[in-house]
C-alpha cells in the first residue's frame, strides 16, 4: 500500500484475443492461462508481471469474445486491478462475476504512464498515482454490484441466495411466470 503497485499501460480496444489467444482455450486452468496472458500484445507481460500489479488501459478494454478465460488469466497472473477509461460490457460482467476488481476512470487511464506506482482503495474508488502525486476517484459501482463483489463473485453470491433463502436469487421481488405453448407443456419449474 505504501509503495504502491506497478502500472502496465496499454491503449484502446485491448481485445480478449490478445488477453488470451484462442489457441490456449483448450484449457481452463488459471495458471496455464496466466502463462499466456497478453501474449500477442506484450510478450514480456506474463514473465515480468508481479503480484499486485495493475493494468491501466484506454477505451473498451476486453473488447470481443465472451471468454471468461480473459479475466481469469489476468487475475491468475497476480494483477490486483484493471483501471480503464471504459470496459467492453461482457468483460465488465465477467470481471465482476469472477471477482477481478475493475475501475472505470478515464482521467486516470489517460494520465497514468507505464511503470507509474499506483495505490487503489476499492471501497472509496480512490486511485492515487504515487509517482506523480495525483489523485483520482473512479465512479462507484451500484450497490447490487458491490454486493456481488463483496461476496467474492456471482457464484458465492447466488449460492448463498439459492441455498439460504426461498426468495428469488437476486433478491428482487418474485416474478410471476406466464408461459405459452410448448414451454408450458415442457414443465417450467415453479420456484
Amino acid at each position: 500500500m505504501q509503495q504502491g503497485s506497478k502500472a502496465w499501460k496499454y491503449g484502446d480496444n485491448v481485445d480478449t484475443d490478445v488477453i488470451v489467444p484462442a489457441r490456449y482455450l483448450t484449457t481452463s486452468d488459471p495458471a496455464e492461462l496466466a502463462a499466456h496472458c497478453m501474449e500477442d500484445l506484450d510478450p514480456d507481460f506474463a514473465s515480468q508481471v508481479a503480484q499486485g500489479d495493475i493494468i491501466v488501459a484506454g477505451e473498451n478494454f476486453g473488447y470481443g469474445s465472451s471468454r471468461e478465460h480473459a479475466p481469469i488469466a489476468i487475475k491468475a497472473s497476480g494483477v490486483s486491478c484493471v483501471i480503464a477509461a471504459s470496459f467492453a460490457r461482457i468483460f465488465y460482467r465477467n470481471a465482476i462475476n469472477i471477482g477481478l476488481p475493475i475501475l472505470e476512470c478515464p482521467q486516470a487511464a489517460m494520465e497514468t504512464q507505464h511503470g507509474d506506482m499506483l495505490s487503489v482503495d476499492f471501497e472509496s474508488g480512490e486511485i492515487r498515482n504515487l509517482t506523480r502525486g495525483i489523485q483520482y476517484r473512479a465512479a462507484p459501482f451500484p450497490p447490487f454490484v458491490r454486493d456481488i463483489m463483496a461476496a467474492g463473485g456471482l457464484i458465492p453470491y447466488i449460492r448463498q441466495k439459492l441455498l439460504d433463502s426461498a426468495d428469488h436469487p437476486f433478491g428482487v421481488q418474485k416474478v410471476e411466470v406466464h408461459l405459452d405453448g410448448e414451454h408450458e407443456e415442457a414443465g417450467t419449474k415453479e420456484k
Binding site: L25, T26, S28, S66, R89, N94, P169, E182, A186
Partner: protein, 437 residues
Amino acid sequence: MPMTMTQKILADHAGLASVEAGQLIEARIDFVLGNDVTAPVAIKEFEKIGVAEVFDRRRIALVPDHFAPNKDIQSAEQCKIMRDFAKKHAIEHYFEVGRMGIEHALLPEQGLVLPGELVVGADSHTCTYGAVGAFSTGVGSTDMAAAMAAGTAWFRVPGAIRFVLNGKLGGWATGKDLILSIIGKIGVDGALYRSMEFVGPGLATLSMDERFTMANMAIEAGAKNGIFAVDERTRAWASSVSSRHYKEYAADPDAVYEQTIVVDLDRIKPQIAFPHLPSNVRPADEAEKTPIDQVVIGSCTNGRIEDLRAAAFILKGRSVAQGVRCIVIPATQQIYRQAVREGLVDTFIEAGAAVSTPTCGPCLGGHMGILAAGERAVATTNRNFVGRMGHPSSEVYLASPATAAACAIAGYIVDPSEISEAPQHGTFETAARDQQK
C-alpha cells in the same frame, strides 16, 4: 414511460410494467446456451453452486462447435466435460458432432429462439438472435452457470441507438456490407452498453439470413444486443421453424433513443474491414489488389445457405487462384445437406475449394485453416484482431461471401463486380415457405 423494443422485452421478463435505461433488473431467461470453450468453465461453476438440477433441462443448449470435431486431446477433454454433463442432466438440446452446427446458425434453425424471447449465451455472438426480434446477449461462463441454476440473470437496462433503414441494397451489397459500413461509421465502441434497433422501410428488403449476419455483428460495435423489428418476413420464418407460440414486441412510437442514424441502403457498396479492427472499413474497390493466401467462407456470421449460394454463384465455372487456399464451411448439417442437394458443394470442389463439416474452426484461430506468420486471409467471419486466425503477424480481412469468393478467384482483394455481374438483390434468398422444417 415509453420504451424501446429491447426495454419492452426486458420489462416483461422481469415482471415489471416498465423499465428505463440504467435500471438494474433481474429477468426470467427463456433459453441458455454454451459451447465447448465456455460450458466446461460454466459447469465447474455450476457445481460450486451446489444445486442438484438445472432450472429446466429443455431450455439449455450445449453445442460442441469451437474445437469440434475434437482437434486434439485437450479439446476432446473439454467436449467430454460438456457431453457428460448433458447426459447427467438429460439436457434435451445437446448437439453431438454429426448433428451439431455453429451454435448461432443452429439454434434459430432448430426453432429454439423465437421473437420476443430472452436468451443468454456464453458466447459473444449470442446477439445473433436479435434478427428474429428476440432479446439475446452474450455473457460469460459464470453468468451461464447462474442462469442454468436459477433460470434468471441480472441486467442493466440498455439505452438504444435506432437505425432507420431506407431504400434497398443493390449490386453485390449484402447485409454484411451494410453492418460493416455501420461499424465503420460508429466505431467498435460506438454502441457500447446499448441496443442497436433496426427499423424502417428498408427492413422489408433484407432477408432473414442478412438480418442474422447484421445482428451477429452488433457486438463488434460494443452493443449489448442488436434487434430487428418483427415483420411479415419474420413471421413467415418463425412459422417455418416452429409451431410454438411467441409474443411480438414493438418499440413505443415515442420511445427515447440516444441517437438515430438514417442509412440509405442504395448507397452501400461491398466493404472490407482491414486489420485489426472490424471498424477499419473501406470499399472493396479501394483495396489496391492486396494479395492473399487464404479465403474462409463460413462462420456464425456468414455460413448460411444464402451465403453459400452467393459464393457458389461466383465460383461456378471458375477456379480458385494458384497459391490461394479456399475453405468453405457450411454452418449446420442442414445447410450442408441443402448445399449438397443444390449442387453448391460440387461447385466448390470443382473450383478447387475445400469443404468442411460445420465448425467455428478457423474463425477464432482454433483449427481447420490456421494462418502462418505474415499470411493474409479474406474471411466472411466477424473479427480481424491481432492473431485471430493464427500467427500474431497474420492478417484477416472481413468481407461478404460474394466478395470473399471473388477474392479467392482473383488471388487478391477485389470488388466482386470485377469477377461477375451481380444478380438482382434477393436472388439467393430462400422464400420462407420453401424453408425446410
